[in-house]
Symmetry: C2
Subunit: 163 residues, 2 copies
């Protein structure tokens, strides 16, 4: 089944759904493999982080770099995001989703990638030295000295093409 208003079905392979209807006629979304997905994510700089936070399901734009196979981003120590993304159990990591897309509203062509995984807090000095090498600036103001990484467990993506 193809799915959703932009044909982004991250649950099962996309299938063509021919037939008339008020939707613009288009080719079905193309399923991307994991390597293509990660290449696309590496080419981007802004994604959306989703998690179940203290105020319910939360989605926020985050600037990032793909660094050693994980999505690296920054926040402030003890910020709501930092605290929301800690389970309180040593070694247990928070489940999140990270989405990146690039869709042209005029042509309606583009792609989207969904990374599902867990958040790892960069708390050790040796790992901090490693991620500092990624040279990731935060786009927002204030001190954002805490690094987090989304470690992918499932990577899926689709490409939309004009018919």
């Amino acid at each position: 089944m193809s799915d959703s208003a932009t044909g982004q079905d991250h649950g099962s392979p996309a299938q063509p759904q021919p037939g008339p209807g008020p939707a613009v006629s288009r080719t079905a979304p193309e399923v991307l493999d994991e390597a293509e997905c990660l290449q696309l994510v590496a080419s981007g700089s802004l994604g959306r982080l989703a998690y179940n936070g203290r105020f319910g399901l939360t989605v926020m734009p985050v600037n990032y770099k793909l660094h050693e196979g994980s999505v690296l981003f920054r926040t402030a120590h003890h910020s709501p995001t930092d605290e929301d993304l800690r389970t309180g159990m040593p070694g247990a990591e928070y489940q999140v989703a990270f989405e990146v897309d690039h869709i042209n509203p005029a042509s309606r062509a583009g792609w989207s990638v969904l990374i599902q995984g867990h958040v790892h807090h960069v708390d050790s000095e040796s790992e901090r030295a490693s991620v500092l090498a990624a040279d990731l600036e935060s786009w927002a103001g204030g001190e954002r000295e805490h690094f987090l990484r989304v470690i992918p467990t499932r990577v899926t993506g689709r490409r939309l093409r004009p018919a």
Copy 2:
């Protein structure tokens, strides 16, 4: 506390966090009120829908219209999205989040809005007639004859400005 890599803290009011650091110096994000948020959402056409689906936390791009105070989008009947977003209990509606943003990677200025709420399936003929008037085309191919609405319960947003 300000929060997250783009200063998008949808949990508590943003506070300035002056001080040096590797982040670009910027003014703190401005908190938007609900009316401003909904105006911005009304000006957009592409957002990201997040929900807890069969494959875990899922985020997907969706083209939409703001229609009578709700976020209207389309999918196919019995698609994974349609089925994931049904609780199976009559009258009980699925909790979701819908995010819209517009951020310029060059200037790092822009805004984001988070709508938290529940999904309402447009199943009655009278309501269907009402949403058809919104003239919402799906950007994806195939028949997408099922309309869904996100009914907001909490609307929050931030504006990022260059320093």
